[in-house]
């Protein structure tokens, strides 16, 4: 069932703390109540489903590629993510994804913690995402990756530093 995006925004509260977990392939293994409340899903609608169920079409793919590259190599990922609700509405989050390890230090899944994003950060990141998405639609993801790399080099920063400084 395809969801049609709408312009209805839900804003996270200061104490809102969205937590979800996936397996190595991105299938949801856990979601907390706030997640369900905000996204508008029931637990049984989410467990076992790919996490991209809440992916918003306005998000550039490079953001998820970057996230996967980082977390698969054992690093954490920070990012501002626009997510889509079951009813087509959206909500912005400041996401922090970290790998889950078993007793043998093997990655067995990932935990994503989403917090209320800095409003100014969102207004800064929106045009960047728009540009990245535009490049992806016209020239593919290599173009958006090249743009992002050039943008970071030009501003003499790294992706992590940029995101953390935006969040404040």
């Amino acid at each position: 069932m395809k969801i049609t995006p709408t312009n209805a925004e839900t804003k996270l509260g200061t104490n809102d703390f969205i937590v979800s977990k996936t397996d190595n392939k991105g299938k949801i293994t856990y979601c907390n109540e706030i997640f369900m409340n905000i996204a508008g899903y029931e637990e049984e609608e989410l467990i076992g489903v790919n996490h991209n169920i809440i992916r918003h079409p306005e998000m550039p793919k490079i953001a998820f590629k970057l996230a996967w590259d980082l977390i698969q190599s054992g690093k954490e990922f920070f990012g501002f993510v626009k997510n889509m609700k079951k009813d087509g509405g959206y909500y912005w989050v400041f996401a922090n994804i970290t790998p889950d390890y078993d007793e043998n230090q093997h990655i067995i899944g990932y935990t994503s913690v989403r917090r209320k994003p800095n409003e100014e950060a969102i207004s800064t990141i929106i045009p960047i995402y728009q540009k990245l998405l535009e490049l992806e639609n016209s020239e593919g993801m290599k173009a958006s990756e090249a743009f992002l790399t050039a943008f970071l080099t030009k501003n003499n920063t790294t992706y992590d530093d940029l995101i953390i400084s935006l969040q404040g």
Binding site: K21, T29, N32, F94, T98, I108, V113, K116
Partner: protein, 470 residues
């Protein structure tokens, strides 16, 4: 009373209520007993099975919760209670609270882990994220962040000190270009950094001046060496020229001496010529006198001839008179007449002879006069000759004087050349000494340039200015 007992009590009261309701409903009916007999066991059965299901579900949820808690208790914080039975109100609340607690604990734990890993890598920007955490987690997160701030300051200070050490090390190795950016530096070390920057600036300036001076010296000494070489060449060339001049002067002196001798010879000839000319003039004068004397004698002869002529005339008259007398005397006078004729004959011959002599004397006078004329011309000629000789003599005198002056001048020139030669030799020696000094200066300048060849601001400019090839 345990939970199970409570449940049993609840079910029992439900059954009682149902029964009471049924009794109330069927109390007016006749077949109440019948109905009771049928309905009651069914009711009991339904109630019992519902209770049993409920109990099983309840047990299941508890077991699930217990399993998760056991894993979590073992430190595996990522486990959560899932597929929570919503129908089980209180228990589901407990499960979600458990999950929320685990979310907090795990996020807090991972945050600490990430921050510490950041610190280990020297990255102070990965701070705790208290947003979304609650209570103690927030407090501890903030405390950790405060501690991170302190560490960051210490680390930043350490970084600044490292930069200072690197900068000082660069100075030690002759690179004075770097300075320390004091932006964001702690107050207690800012003066140190400023001091180092001052030192760097001073060293840079000093090196710049040294380098530039070295290059100026090098350029100067190179120029000097070049000039000295030119000077040496000039001195050598001068010495050669002087030698050639000396030889030429010798030749000039010799030819001048020859010329002087010739002049003296000429003067001597001129003297002889003057003497000869004077003799000639004297002889010419004497000739004139002799001619005058001849003329005088000729005049005397003429006078004598005139007397002879007069005598011849008188004689002729007398002979005529004698002839007349003889004629008169007739025959007696005939002899006389012959004598008279003879006398007249003689007188005629005398007159004739006188006439001839007069002609000869006239001729002699003419010749004498001609001789006198020639003698006069000779005198004039000798006079002119003497004048010319005098002029020549004067010229010769002038030449002699000039020659002497020339000789003097040549002596002076020779003296000058001798001095010049001495000076030239001294110059050549000085040039050699100067060359040695210039070479030493050049060596020194090269050493200075080498020593001052540090790394400093403005070096490229100086190198461009002095056309230094890098």
């Amino acid at each position: 009373m345990n939970l199970f007992a409570k449940l049993k009590l609840l079910i029992a009261s439900l059954v009682v209520v149902c029964l009471l309701l049924l009794v109330a409903y069927f109390s007016t009916m006749e077949s109440l007993v019948k109905v009771l007999v049928i309905v009651l066991p069914i009711q009991a059965l339904i109630v019992l099975s519902v209770v049993s299901m409920y109990t099983n579900a309840y047990r299941n949820e508890l077991r699930k919760t217990n399993e998760v808690l056991k894993k979590v208790a073992n430190g595996n914080l990522y486990h959560r209670i899932t597929n929570i039975d919503k129908s089980n109100g209180n228990l589901s609340m407990i499960c979600w609270s458990m999950n929320n607690l685990l979310d907090q604990v795990e996020a807090f734990s991972r945050d600490i882990s990430s921050s510490l890993r950041g610190i280990a890598k020297g990255n102070m920007t990965r701070k705790m994220l208290p947003s979304g955490l609650h209570g103690d987690f927030v407090r501890v997160s903030n405390e950790i962040n405060n501690a991170l701030e302190v560490i960051a300051v210490a680390q930043s200070k350490d970084e600044f000190i490292q930069k200072m050490i690197i900068t000082l090390n660069a100075y030690t190795h002759g690179d004075y270009r770097s300075s320390i950016n004091i932006e964001g530096m702690q107050e207690d070390i800012i003066k140190l950094a400023q001091g180092i920057n001052e030192l760097g600036r001073a060293l840079n300036e000093l090196s710049k001046v040294n380098y530039e001076n070295g290059l100026i010296l090098k350029e100067g000494s190179t120029h000097l060496t070049h000039n000295v070489a030119t000077m040496t060449q000039a001195a050598n060339s001068q010495a050669t020229s002087l030698e050639e001049t000396s030889v030429a002067l010798d030749e000039i002196t010799k030819s001048m001496q020859q010329s002087n001798q010739n002049t003296l010879q000429m003067a001597s000839y001129a003297d002889e010529l003057t003497a000869s000319a004077n003799d000639g003039e004297r002889l010419a004068n004497e000739t004139t006198i002799s001619m005058d004397e001849i003329n005088e004698q000729v005049n005397a002869i003429n006078d004598a001839i005139t007397v002879i002529d007069q005598i011849a005339f008188q004689t002729n008259i007398l002979s005529l008179n004698a002839a007349v007398e003889a004629a008169t005397a007739g025959e007696a006078g005939k002899g006389f007449a012959v004598v008279a004729a003879e006398v007249r004959n003689l007188a005629t011959r005398s007159a004739q002879a006188a006439k001839e002599i007069k002609s000869l004397v006239e001729n002699a006078t003419s010749k004498a006069n001609h001789g006198k004329e020639i003698a006069s011309k000779m005198i004039n000629g000798y006079s002119t000759l003497n004048k010319n000789i005098d002029l020549t003599m004067n010229l010769l005198k002038d030449i002699t004087v000039s020659s002497k002056e020339q000789e003097k001048a040549i002596v002076q020139i020779n003296d000058s050349i001798a001095i010049l030669d001495k000076n030239t030799q001294e110059n050549a020696k000085i040039a050699q000494d100067t060359n040695d000094i210039a070479l030493q200066s050049n060596e020194i300048s090269l050493k200075i340039v080498e020593q001052a060849n540090k790394e400093f601001e403005g070096k490229e400019e100086i190198q461009r200015k002095f056309n230094v090839k890098v």
